[in-house]
């Protein structure tokens, strides 16, 4: 902190003040003179610890010394307080090395010297023996006693440190340097001890004097000098901060006096400051002396200069800057309290000069961190200086658009005289020079003022005090307005308005808006003037009469406009709510409707020539914009919310270790909306072509709330956002900011469609039926000439015209159809009989992809057949089931079996078959010895749906195979011997007779020799006892008797009543070792069973029943 201490003694010295302690020298002065210069230079070079009483901290101080020859007269008397100005340390110097010489002369001298000192109770002394060191002496034996020892023994037995020897430092050798250092530090220490005592005494004295301040006759100036002395002492010691405290005390004391001046009686001495101000020399921070009878400003300036000095020495530029403004305020206040009269402008001059001086000093310290520190305070100073200069300018008629009168010129002359002369260096004129110059010439004045103001604004902006900068800007704007530079003025005013608005200080904004309006009026910029007028007229904070007049101004100028001008809504109009009154999804060509509540702040009605809300087409939602679902935006929704003031969404985050223990817990918040607010929102081009418009124009917007209905026919499909509202008033186009959060509307279209419907009944092949082809036109028209193409799969034909023949391909013209109309066209369809799956491909002009309609047809009737056998006779039954919803008229059934004649048994020639009913026809195959084992059969029938139709033929083909009877089967159950009846639970005999019919009537099928029979009794009815199956072989040559085989099985009825006989089934039995042994394979190693077809076996006992009576019991005896 003492980096600048080297120059410090010079500062005091410049003024002729030397607060270094006075040190006397006695003895051989010529010896001392050789070391004097070295010593006085060496002393302040290093610090020394200063221990003080009263628990004050230990300080490292620098102490210098002022050497004077010893003089008895100048010695201070006992109990003197101003020891500072007295010799307070005494030295005796001798070069004597010879003990005898010492004894003879020096000793007496020292004795006399010490006696002088002791008589004045001075204990601070030092005897120095200077030795001339040379090479020879060291080689000699060390003398038993030196002069130093002698002196010590004689004078300083108890204070050994009061005697010191030093080797003459003439030659720079290491040993001399060491002894020299010893001397310097000893002197420094002892001197400080002495000095400290003196300072303590001085402090005590100052305190005493201060206590007496209320006594009559106490002189502030005297006290001031005294305390300043203390300050200077501390300054000399390098304790600048403590020196500052002394000045601060003086400052505070004086302030207190002045503050109490009017109330206290014993402050009469202050009247010495009450003389009129006759000179107002600029404040000088350079070292200076205070005059004996300073004026208030001089005294104040002096104290401030000293304080600044100390602050600068401790590198606290910022503090000096920060103290300046309060200091100037104090001065102004004290001038007022003491009722000091001054010529007009004189104080302003002084204030200006003082602030400029401080600023100039600050400018010298231009390290970045220093600038950073003091800018906070200099900004206000710049502003203050510019203000004062402006005041002076106004006083002296230097403001733009004016010329100084002779009276004002006279003022300038007297002010300049009072400032005195303080010429600065050539390249940097002093504040006084600058002020004088500015007062002499209007141009310089304007330039200086603007420069200062710009600096003030710049500095304010730099330190982040934007609002203050704006206020200065406002001041500057008024100045520019006087200069006629309306553009610059407008820029400053505009900035100020923006800042006020952003802080919500509407009244200030409105007031500034008034200035802006005047500014634009002066500039004859009618567009901007209208804008400002509009803003003023809509400002509720301003008096209604003023608003009216500006409103009238606005309308007056609007008429004169040659082209439309655009203007934002700002505060003039406010959208309070937006509601979509139509559906959110609007069909094409329907109406989109929106209701808007607009609050007008204009003082009178405005006539809107146009009113619309823009629609912005939106392909996909934007991510950075808020959307509002629903139809209504209330005032609350529309309110702009400062993202910085929003509640943060905070969620909990817990992190677990691997073992599921909690590792860390915390909260996290995603700052969602932290993006910059654009200072000038991007101007979106308003597309008025797609806008909801007011229906009745012109409409009146009355002051206050207006509810307006807007609508638009939805022409284009898509999603739309409500964007900005636009109001045209004559040529004024008012535009609102985009409506946020966004409300979306959707316009949809319905495309045409074509459908092919079948009627409720199932589709039948072979019958012409009607399907419905339905063409629905959607929300837009279809070119009437466009063609719908229908293509059918093979086997399917259709036609739409009633009279035309059926075809496979069909082209239909759409025709003139209204939107949302639906046309039903009957389509006659005919699928070939016996085909089932078909499809119709429809090509429509509006969709490139063809539409495929699959169709399922079923035949009009279904047919089944069965072969029945009675011994050798064969019957074919054909069963027909109708599937047609309407009755089917059937005619001429016919069965035709190839090479076998048939006889009709039950065949009505004409029938009506209704839906779902079946009907059977029966034919007997004539008994013929047909060699073929199979025959092709064809059933045909004629049918028609309605009486008027012509018959169509229905054919059904089937094969009759294996229809010859091979075996006849007969089963009889007889009761066991001795029983008359079959009883439940009693074993009966089942007599099974299998006869080979072929053996009887022909030689064929000889290979089927073995037949296996199985009794398939129902388990709840019959129990088969013993075997249930067996194989019967018919012998080689079939004789009449061995063509019939008989088997008896035991069966037992389990229930009573008429029971069907147990079912017996016979199958072909093919043994494992057949004749085809050459094809031996795994499957052939086992015997196989093959079923007979139904025509090959005739079961005689089928349908037979046996009466079984209940088992004999006690209740039911035989």
């Amino acid at each position: 902190m003492n980096g600048t201490v080297d120059e410090e003694p010079n500062n005091l010295a410049q003024l002729g003040i030397d607060r270094r302690p006075i040190v006397t020298c006695a003895g051989e002065l010529e010896v001392f003179s050789t070391v004097e210069e070295n010593l006085s230079n060496a002393l302040p070079k290093d610090t020394c610890e200063w221990r003080r009483s009263l628990g004050r901290p230990i300080k490292n101080v620098h102490v210098g010394a002022n050497f004077v020859p010893f003089n008895v007269q100048s010695l201070p008397k006992c109990s003197q307080w101003d020891l500072i100005r007295q010799p307070l340390f005494h030295t005796y110097w001798t070069e004597c090395t010879d003990v005898d010489t010492y004894k003879n002369t020096i000793r007496e001298d020292i004795e006399a010297w010490l006696k002088e000192l002791n008589s004045r109770e001075i204990t601070d002394w030092l005897i120095v023996v200077v030795e001339n060191y040379d090479g020879k002496r060291t080689k000699q034996l060390i003398p038993r006693t030196t002069v130093l020892d002698k002196i010590r023994a004689d004078f300083a037995v108890k204070q050994g440190d009061r005697c010191i020897s030093v080797i003459n430092p003439g030659r720079a050798e290491s040993k001399t340097a060491e002894s020299w250092r010893g001397l310097v530090s000893r002197v420094r220490h002892l001197l400080l001890v002495a000095y400290a005592r003196a300072v303590t005494r001085l402090e005590e004295h100052v305190r005493q004097q201060r206590e007496r301040r209320n006594e009559p006759g106490w002189n502030f100036m005297k006290y001031f000098m005294l305390q300043e002395e203390l300050a200077q002492v501390l300054e000399m010691l390098g304790l600048n901060d403590e020196a500052l405290v002394q000045y601060d005390e003086l400052d505070a004391l004086f302030s207190q006096f002045v503050a109490n001046f009017t109330t206290c009686d014993n402050l009469k001495w202050l009247s010495q400051f009450q003389r009129p101000l006759d000179q107002w020399h600029g404040l000088r921070l350079k070292p200076s002396l205070v005059e004996d009878t300073p004026s208030l400003l001089e005294l104040r300036a002096y104290i401030f200069a000293r304080q600044s000095r100390m602050l600068l020495l401790t590198n606290k530029v910022w503090e000096m800057a920060s103290r300046c403004l309060p200091f100037l305020h104090t001065c102004v206040r004290e001038l007022a309290i003491l009722e000091i009269t001054a010529p007009p402008g004189a104080v302003w001059c002084w204030l200006f000069l003082a602030s400029m001086e401080v600023l100039q000093v600050c400018d010298k310290f231009n390290q970045a961190d220093q600038v950073e520190e003091y800018s906070l305070h200099t900004a206000a100073l710049w502003e203050y200086a510019s203000q004062k200069l402006r005041n002076l300018g106004e006083l002296c008629g230097l403001m733009p658009q004016g010329a100084p009168t002779s009276e004002q010129l006279h003022v300038v002359v007297s002010l300049s005289a009072g400032m005195g002369d303080n010429p600065g260096p050539l390249n940097s004129p002093s504040p006084t020079d600058r002020l004088k110059e500015a007062l002499c010439s209007q141009d310089v004045f304007i330039k200086s003022y603007l420069e200062l103001a710009e600096l003030a604004m710049g500095t304010f902006k730099h330190v982040g005090r934007l609002r203050m900068a704006r206020l200065v800007g406002q001041e500057v704007a008024t100045f520019y307005l006087l200069l006629g530079e309306t553009q610059k003025a407008a820029a400053f005013l505009g900035d100020a308005i923006r800042t006020f608005e952003s802080d919500g200080w509407h009244e200030l904004a409105a007031q500034t808006q008034l200035c802006l309006a005047d500014c634009h009026k002066k500039a004859e910029d009618s567009q901007k003037y209208i804008k400002a007028c509009a803003a003023v007229s809509a400002a509720v904070e301003i008096d209604t009469l003023i608003r009216w007049s500006y409103f009238d101004e606005m309308t007056k100028h609007l008429v004169k406009l040659d082209k439309p001008m655009e203007l934002a809504f700002n505060d003039m109009l406010r959208i309070n709510s937006v509601a979509i009154t139509s559906d959110l999804i609007v069909m094409q060509d329907c109406k989109m409707e929106v209701e808007l509540a607009i609050e007008s702040n204009f003082p009178k009605e405005i006539v809107c020539t146009y009113f619309a809300v823009c629609l912005e087409r939106e392909e996909k939602p934007k991510s950075n914009v808020r959307y509002h679902s629903g139809k209504l935006l209330t005032k609350k929704d529309l309110k702009w919310q400062d993202p910085l003031l929003q509640r943060l969404r905070i969620k909990r985050t817990l992190n677990y270790k691997q073992d599921k223990q909690l590792a860390t817990s915390g909260i996290a918040s995603k700052l969602t909306q932290l993006h910059r607010k654009d200072s000038a929102p991007a101007r979106s081009r308003t597309d008025l072509s797609a806008a909801l418009e007011a229906e009745k124009l012109p409409l009146l917007l009355t002051p206050g709330l207006n509810v307006l209905k807007l609508s638009k026919k939805a022409t284009d499909v898509g999603k739309y956002c409500l964007d900005a509202a636009i109001i045209h008033v004559d040529k004024l186009q008012l535009k609102s900011p985009p409506i946020l959060p966004r409300l979306t509307l959707e316009v949809q279209e319905e495309s045409p469609s074509i459908r092919l419907y079948k009627r409720p009944a199932p589709l039948l092949s072979g019958i012409e039926q009607v399907m419905n082809l339905i063409l629905t036109i959607g929300s837009y028209l279809i070119e009437p000439k466009s063609i719908i193409k229908l293509t059918a799969s093979t086997g399917l034909t259709f036609q739409i015209q009633p009279e035309e023949a059926l075809t496979n391909n069909l082209e239909i013209e759409v025709g003139d159809k209204a939107t949302f109309s639906s046309t039903k066209m009957p389509l006659r369809v005919l699928a070939d009989l016996l085909t089932r799956d078909h499809q119709v491909t429809i090509h429509v002009p509006w969709v490139p992809k063809p539409i495929v309609v699959p169709l399922n047809f079923s035949p009009p009737m279904s047919t089944t057949w069965r072969l029945f056998t009675v011994d050798y006779r064969k019957f074919v039954q054909v069963n027909v089931v109708g599937h047609c919803v309407d009755n089917l008229i059937v005619h001429e059934p016919d069965l035709n079996v190839k090479s076998i004649p048939v006889s009709t048994k039950h065949c009505d020639s004409s029938l009506i078959i209704s839906n779902g009913l079946s009907y059977s026809f029966l034919w007997e195959l004539a008994h013929t010895n047909v060699a073929a084992n199979s025959a092709k059969a064809e059933f045909s029938v004629q049918y028609k749906l309605t009486e008027n139709d012509c018959y169509k033929s229905y054919q059904y083909y089937f094969d009759v195979t294996d229809f010859k009877t091979l075996y006849a089967l007969d089963a009889v159950v007889e009761p066991a011997k001795g029983n008359e009846f079959c009883r439940v639970g009693v074993v009966c005999h089942l007599h099974l007779t299998i006869s080979n019919m072929v053996a009887v009537h022909g030689k064929e099928n000889a290979d089927i020799r073995s037949v296996m029979y199985e009794v398939l009794a129902e388990q709840s009815v019959w129990a088969v006892c013993g075997r249930t199956a067996g194989v019967i072989s018919f012998g080689g040559i079939l004789e009449e008797e061995n063509a019939v085989q008989r088997v008896v099985l035991d069966v037992m009825p389990l229930t009573s009543g008429f029971l069907p006989l147990p079912l017996v089934r016979i199958s072909k039995y093919i043994p494992a070792d057949t004749l085809h042994s050459e094809k031996t394979s795994a499957s052939d190693t086992h015997p196989r069973l093959e079923p007979f077809t139904s025509g090959q076996v005739y079961n005689k006992s089928k349908g037979k029943q046996l009466h079984v009576i209940a088992a004999a019991s006690e209740t039911n005896p035989l």
Binding site: A259, L325, P326, L328, H329, V332, R333, A336, A380, G464, R465, L466, R467, M468, L471, F500, D503, G504, W505, E507, L508, Q511, D642, L645
Partner: protein
């Protein structure tokens, strides 16, 4: 006695303004507005001000030739500002501080009014009268 008192919301917009001399209101509004710069500086957490967070009184914000401006900030960042004439020597720091405290409690009472919507400008006549009596020292 102070000459002007103001209450400024957390968004820096004025909520209440009262002046002993209504003619000076506009001039004071400018002064109060510019003092917000300094309040913001003082509230800036990056500032190395070691001041106690619980201390709501901000002290003198800045002084002009004619007046001194004092500030006080509640925990919810509602700013109270008092403007004192600079010739007024009687008002010491302590008096100002207690003035602010009274204002704060008055404000708390006013906010408790269910008919007051927080964030709106204060229009209560009673509140106005109370604040006026606080700053003029007639309580």
């Amino acid at each position: 006695m102070a000459v002007c008192a103001a209450i400024v919301g957390k968004d820096n917009s004025p909520k209440f303004f009262c002046c002993v001399n209504p003619d000076e209101e506009l001039a004071f509004q400018f002064k109060v507005l510019s003092s917000l710069d300094i309040i913001e500086e003082k509230l800036n957490p990056t500032n190395k001000s070691a001041s106690d967070n619980r201390e709501l009184y901000l002290g003198q914000l800045y002084s002009l030739e004619t007046c001194k401006i004092y500030g006080y900030v509640t925990n919810t960042k509602i700013k109270f500002i008092i403007v004192v004439d600079s010739t007024n020597m009687a008002l010491r720091d302590n008096e100002i501080r207690s003035m602010f405290r009274r204002m704060h409690s008055e404000y708390a009472d006013m906010v408790s009014n269910p008919f007051y919507i927080p964030g709106e400008a204060i229009t209560s006549k009673m509140f106005d009268a109370n604040i006026k009596s606080i700053i003029t020292g007639t309580v």
